[in-house]
Assembly symmetry: D2
Homo-oligomer: 423 residues x 4
């Protein structure tokens, strides 16, 4: 794929941002593109996901709305049919003789953010801004998916000996898709895994060979159900779900700190009740807990569940707690980071190489990294700098398209280096 082909693909994806499990157009477009290659296998939808591990899957109606939208946008019907029910994502496989199995993971989903229509916002002035009102590729996953295709082509054209698998993962923004892909079986024989992210406040020309500092995270939704009553006439007949919720919030933030490292908790979205004069029957908390390690996140999760359950009991309510997304912590393996670093330093287009840097947020690539590491393999999360006018997750985010090609070069270079040096 030429450089301008890559840009064209990225722009088409940018025009069609889709959130978790609704990446119908995106998957279909990528599969359509990949089918023209001489691949050894191309797995799609249900074939690349462990069904029971999908999280935060939206309701049927919501899925259908996006399905129809994808069709109207021109996605191929035969591919769409394979994605029904929100089974998005794909895995492309290239086998080139004896050698290690190397995997590249890219994510493909967009965000519920309304894209800027300012004249200085390139996607707008350039005519490729979002066609899905209220949604936007504001974190560069359009570039990631494009890099995935680019690396596949670059490796296919090389003298690579081994197997390359490119994972196009849905639902990263909601940390909803990583586990399902990690548990799909496609990672079982992978010896080396590279994941990639553009930007992260690093400029074009800069490579971070190993990103670390992922907080393990778990999103939850707690719904309290009590009994309504007239607040003036019969206050004692209510089981007040808002009181339960408030008690839970106060005590969630009060979960003890932990000597082993950083923890986090947030009651990010709350709502409850129907009218000023009705004792609230229902209330909910959409929140998250995090930990510097997976164990610390689990510590928060257990304490959090106890808080929520006891708060419900205290006010005569039922509570339903669901997990809406999850990701463990993980670390880039130094051995693999060294390879990426050496390849980057050798690349003329790279102006600066940072050995390791901390993310400070969460990512569900960690599920895939952990899976490979648990199997005895190595994993690294690579940052590809790109000048981005607005911050990640803002209306004016954009990528410097030049950095897509550089990312392809470095990652493909790393794949080749791994294959040649590791039998």
């Amino acid at each position: 794929m030429t450089s301008s082909d890559l840009v064209e693909l990225r722009r088409d994806l940018h025009r069609h941002p889709e959130p978790a499990w609704r990446e119908f157009y995106t998957t279909a477009r990528l599969v359509d593109e990949l089918e023209t290659r001489d691949l050894d296998a191309l797995y799609v939808g249900p074939e690349v996901l462990s069904e029971e591990d999908r999280m935060a899957v939206p309701g049927e109606e919501e899925l259908e709305t996006w399905f129809d939208r994808a069709r109207e946008a021109g996605a191929r019907e035969d591919i769409l049919d394979r994605l029904r029910g929100g089974y998005t994502g794909a895995v492309a496989v290239l086998e080139r003789g004896e050698g290690p199995t190397v995997a590249l993971r890219v994510d493909i989903d967009g965000l519920p953010i309304t894209e800027s229509d300012g004249d200085d916002h390139v996607p707008f002035s350039g005519g490729f801004h979002s066609e899905n009102e209220g949604y936007m590729h504001a974190c560069g996953h359009d570039a990631h998916a494009t890099i995935g295709v680019g690396v596949l082509d670059a490796v296919a054209e090389s003298d690579f000996a081994g197997t390359l698998k490119v994972f196009f993962q849905p639902g990263e923004e909601q940390i909803a898709g990583g586990k399902a892909m990690a548990k799909s079986g496609h990672l079982d024989d992978v010896d080396y895994l590279l994941a990639v992210h553009v930007g992260l406040d690093h400029p074009s020309g800069e490579i971070v060979a190993g990103v670390n500092g992922f907080l393990a995270v778990s999103h939850f939704e707690a719904t309290f159900t009590g009994a309504p009553a007239h607040a003036g006439a019969k206050p004692e007949e209510g089981d007040n779900a808002v009181q339960a919720m408030a008690t839970a919030i106060q005590n969630l933030y009060g979960i003890p700190r932990h000597a082993d490292g950083a923890t986090r908790v947030n009651a990010g979205v709350v709502e409850g009740g129907t009218a000023s004069n009705i004792i609230p029957e229902e209330a909910s908390i959409g929140g998250e807990v995090r930990g510097e390690t997976t164990e610390l996140m689990q510590y928060m999760e257990e304490k959090g569940r106890r808080v929520v359950r006891s708060a419900a009991e205290m006010h005569g309510c039922e509570v339903d707690v669901s997990t809406e997304g999850k990701a463990p912590s993980a670390r880039s393996d130094e051995e693999l980071v060294s390879i990426v670093s050496a390849v980057a330093r050798a690349n003329g287009g790279v102006e600066s190489v940072i050995e390791t840097d901390a993310l400070g947020g969460s990512e569900d690539a960690t599920y895939l990294m952990q899976e490979v590491q648990d199997n005895g393999g190595l994993a690294a999360y690579v940052g590809v700098g790109t000048d981005h006018p607005g911050g990640h997750h803002t209306r004016t985010f954009d990528v410097d398209e030049e950095s897509i090609g550089l990312g392809v070069e470095v990652l493909a270079g790393a794949v080749l280096d791994i294959a040649s040096s590791r039998p």
Copy 2:
């Protein structure tokens, strides 16, 4: 107006339920009807309201939506023009020589409830159910307004000596309109005030001469504004509006009970935050406080404001508290209750008379009662029984139209009795 005319009017009103300050069709329909009478004065919209005392007035867009809907439903343009900006309601005046000034207050607004479309729901099977989707006359105010017109006619046709004023009040359901009408000046010369409510679990044929036990009430909306931050990366940079809200809720319910009588508090509708991983910037509580007396309600109001203010401060948030509706407590005067009772007992259609009964809820007719009592006049709140299949404020509420006529008879009878016995 004949009995069947009354029914026809009630059904037309029933078809067009409108909430507070949006009673455009209702007011226009009533004014259109009243203009055909030989009235001495008919005040409309801004003429019957103290502007600064209107509470919970919706935004312009919302008002326009309902304004347009009323026009489309056939309301007279010239009357509608007088109601622009949500100035609904009317006062009809009949002067018939020397005598006391007697007032009747009826309310005219509907509720945000979706009406039943069951075959056993008479308005549905009878073809006069709500044409405003999601709204319904589920508390009988359609009957109240009709009774207002009926009493006016009945008194006009009698040998009544004195002045009769009928107040068609908007916004009772949100206790939003009573004060504005009470402070309009039209009550200044009123010697006797009767207010009326149908149903209240009393069957057709039963009259409650004096309803009491109104709790004073105040609705508030408290909006907390803090500062957002990434919950994983920078938790310390947020000013958490949801924590402020939860602290406020816990302490609102903990306001001390009062030795002087019953108090109430409710955090009925809450919401806050935008995403699981963002420290919430905004949160709100829509709630109410009540008291057995106005003083007790004010005690709760003061303590409640202190709680809300301190909770905001505690978490570095601003808080804005607005009053969204209010009503004092009030008592029916025994002297007037006796008159109503005597008239009711003398009426052949009345099967049972209850001297006084307690409501246990709130009502903003109390503003008008208090105004008249403060001026040295007397007031009574009269219950007119009606068989109602569903409870008040439920989808299947309906009135027994026979009771409308009986209500007119008893109330008109009371007006005449007052005028003849009280010079």
Copy 3:
């Protein structure tokens, strides 16, 4: 007993104030006095108490301390021996032929208040102030016990036909003794019960024929036990009893108000923890709930227990909840109030008679009243006015000794009137 004998007795009791289940000197002194009468029965200690219904009994060491103190103060050894283990109180019985069984209940315990040593405090200047440092008869129970003996004598000397039982009840201040005496069996045949209290802000010469408005009450002690940990080094290893306690307090005050009447809740005494840098292992709440009726108190009790239990669970703590005192609500029977009122009006020493008045607090005479009423008898709680310089439960409380004699006259008069008019 002459008037000066009564005064002497009262002063001796005043010198020896003793709290619940420690009224060793008081009981012995009364029994010593009563044994000189020609009584038909005199029950003491274990004979007048239902063992399982004693509440808030102190530990052995505490009991022994007071037991020894009573001996040192000169209490008769043989009587003391019958009171061992904190079985205090007595019932004196006078049988005088055919007639109803009438009971009088007086309480005998003192308060943990240090008595004033001001020159204007009569017990101090008069040389009969408390000899038990830190304790005081600050609520007039010394006068009550004296009235009990006085009434017994007055009735014995009259032509009374019937049975009179005088109950000298321990532990009223902690509402700890009423139930045990009510369930002792001695009330089973009682037809009429009078209870008496001096003062209550009524002056000497005033009689309240029937006191009402007792709130049912229950005292509880909730002790939370968690696990300690170093707050700096291992915060996650603690199970924080103070967090559990704080959560419980917040939610106890938030128990919903009740439409059926007044309720109360108070976390009156709290403590917890051992050092600033240790996660608190233990914490406790000494509190109470009340209700306008016994049912309302029970409603508060149930909700309160649920709050306390859930708060403990929430923080990984155990909680132990004990009842430390309890009393139901009760009402004086109008029939009996009328008798007392008539007798009082006929007494020349009485200047003013109030038919009924509300207490607004709690009293465990209600256990005895309820027991008699449940058996078909009548009960009334009589107020005997007395000028008291300081308020009840203050260091300068004192009674006007003149009112003791008047109280005896009115109560003995009522007993005689009951016997003569009720066969």
Copy 4:
């Protein structure tokens, strides 16, 4: 001083454990001992303390009790007189020609712990256990003070060129004395500071050249004052200090975590109220906040004060917050750690040397370390292993007296090495 002299001194100090600002016997004993040396200066009491920086000074009565106890135990009157008012501690100065100024800081206070009287507890079986009932040297400060004297002697007998200052600091256990000594002026010319602690779970023969990981800490006492009221009769008249306290506790634990590092908060000791049936007038929280850095501790302190203040306001209470002890964070300088490490490795009695280790708790030696570092000097906190049967701050804690001599050797060696290598 011979080895057996050191042991004798340590045992005498062990017999007289004294808490913060009450180290009368201890200071007098040390001064008495030091006066026999050929010192260049010996500062005592007020001369070694910045008055305004003393924290948690007890009341006069408490001070006098301990003062008298010290006199009775045989402390020299003339020295005691210089310590009146709780001005304890001393600084001994040795000037030996040109060279750097080196300081050693040892702490001298005991703990409110009752010492074991088990036969296997050496101080008990050896006859030198605590003579101050309820207090104990349970953290080895008796050994520290002894090491201070030992190092002074060892250096005095060497060819040391420079100035040596030994700081005998009061009140470490309550982090109450470090600041006052740090700000006394005696550190102004200090180039190198060594602080020492025995044990810390390191066995005899092991040296930790540089202890790190001190959490900055601040102890506070928050006292809420409201208004009492009868909980049954007048609940609305109270301003409930326990409600304020509970609200504060809930929100103290909810202070947001911080991205820059570990924070801690604890409400360690709480109490409030006087009786179940009285709305509590007073309540207090004795607690602490910590931070991985001084800035993080201050962040917690500021948020904590806001919580406490707002909680008081919310419930109509006043609140008084006092600081009861404080210490910053600090780090051992690597340069100085290397010197200690080299000296230790060269010592035949040392079996194992650990370069650096983390404490995980707090210490107010950090005030002195920070003062020296701020002046451009270097500081290190040295751990001297000692077999201790019970843990620190337990009833069975004891030190292996052999390790005292080894500590003296290593520290004196370090002082000499500094002086010889650093001009």
